[in-house]
Amino acid sequence: MSQTDFKQKYPQIWKRFTPAETLVRYIWYGGIVFIAVWSVSNLDIPWFYFLDAHVQAADLITRMIPPYWPFFLDIIQPLVETLHIATLGTVFTIFLAFPVAILSARNTTFNKTTWFIGRFILVTSRSVNTVVWGLLFVAIFGPGPVAGIFSVAARSIGFVGKLIAEAIEEIDVGAVEAIEATGASKLQILLIGVLPQVMPIILGTIIYRWDINIRESTVLGFVGAGGIGIVLYSSINLFAWHEVSVILVSIFGVVILSEYLSIKARARIT
């Protein structure tokens, strides 16, 4: 080994990064800051709004307190409707997500075309937000909870289906092969070999999604798709802040309760 080789291999000063690496790192930092500055400056943000923002915010809060509690009686029905939208939408999802997941999992799909169809449904369902689905279904079914139920289901299929498809791709193929070797049909293989293996994932994901859907259903009313969101939207637009605070507190309660139930239920699945 020559002298220079040796020096290159064992430098006298230890540094975490070589100069080139350091340069690359600084270029990354610079790039990130540049993108942030470019983004903010392009958004035409009216900075002077910030001058009285704290006043506005404080004003809002003082108007919301104390909440006008009797209003709670008026929102029981919309709150229950919110729960119905989330629950019924999730139930629809149960029946739709498993077939779509089977199409989207490489080891259970029928051919390239069905795989592509499955993936397309998953991607479309997931990239469109529940509320955007709401816009579409309100246009189709008119305003009301039916549009809400469809929106919840349309969005949840992608979420639940993707997780089930991933679980299907990781199942024990041995058991599936054994069922196949008995001369079972393709549908029987799915039913006896695949379904039991992914059942805990299906149940867990469905319950988890139900909990998320409760939160989603609280705002579907903003586009007219039923639930507490309708009341919240109109109270805000009427500047009825004492009512708004009652609504927020009840949403908070419902969401916390559903999260608690969902965690409890998921812990029981084995």
């Binding site: 008995t182 001369g183 006896i192």
Partner: protein, 275 residues
């Protein structure tokens, strides 16, 4: 009964796992296939029921050519072949009974399978098999609650539920301890002869093969290197199948299978199954 002619398999990667295999089983006998790992034992078994598609050659079971069958025909043919796996391959979250009954899936409709509605003769046959393999008590436990040996017993019952014309068995004891291995192997061999079902059994343990086989086939690099009785397996044969090694101990130890050593083992077995 069962005839393989010129069976070859070349995997997409270019590995030739089987080359021109010829094999006939014309009477109900237990045929053990020995060979080092990678010799092509699993490939052979899987090419028979087409879990792996063979490249060329012919496989006939009771005058039915299997290699050219369409989807429905293949399903019908698979119903006639019971398969037992090294890793048991049970559906873990189903009960023992459901696993055993799944051997009848080829004969019931989707809806019946969904409602677990099997015919009364199927159910009594399942109870009988569970009794035979000693798992009557466990019929409602989940498969993943059982020990390895018990799981393999469920696998055996599932294969026999098919009332097969041929048993395909791929290293049934490779994941079990020596004592359980012998018990399981004895169970398979006994059941096969009780029912007059020929069995093709892959195994890497030469000693075990010699003590239970009617006939032994040696596979080396995808070719049949030996075909004869257990007694004919000599030093030279083993060298041909596995390569150079000192085989004297292997041959001596189980040449004397029917004597003392075996009696001791069966004594232990009886004690443990009684307890």
């Amino acid at each position: 009964m069962f005839i393989i002619k010129g069976l070859s398999k070349t995997y997409p990667g270019g590995v030739t796992a089987l080359e021109e295999i010829n094999l006939e089983i014309l009477e109900p006998q237990v045929v053990m296939v020995i060979g080092s790992s990678g010799a092509g034992k699993s490939t052979l078994i899987r090419c028979i029921n087409r879990l792996i598609e063979p490249t060329t050659g012919s496989v006939q079971l009771n005058e039915v050519e299997i290699t050219t069958l369409g989807k429905t025909g293949l399903r019908k043919a698979r119903r006639r072949m019971g398969m037992i796996f090294q890793e048991y391959n049970l559906v873990d979250r189903l009960t023992v009974m459901e696993n055993v009954l799944s051997g009848r899936l080829g004969y019931v409709s989707f809806l019946q399978a969904y409602r677990r509605k099997y015919g009364p003769e199927d159910i009594s046959a399942a109870y009988e098999l569970l009794d035979r393999v000693g798992l009557t008590e466990n019929c409602n436990s989940r498969a993943d609650a059982l020990s390895g040996g018990q799981r393999q017993r469920v696998g055996i019952a599932r294969a026999l539920m098919q009332r097969p014309d041929l048993l395909l068995v791929d290293e049934p004891t490779a994941s079990l301890d020596p004592k359980t291995s012998r018990q399981i192997m004895r169970l398979i061999v006994e059941l096969a002869s009780e029912r007059g079902t020929p069995a093709l059994i892959n195994i890497h343990d030469v000693a075990l093969a010699r003590s239970f086989a009617d006939r032994i086939i040696g596979l080396a690099r995808g070719r049949v290197a030996f075909d004869g009785t257990a007694a004919e397996v000599s030093d030279q044969v083993l060298t041909e199948i596995y390569g150079e090694e000192d085989w004297s101990a292997t041959i001596k130890n189980d040449g004397s299978d029917s004597s003392g050593d075996e009696n001791l083992l069966s004594k232990i077995e009886k004690e443990s199954s009684a307890g």
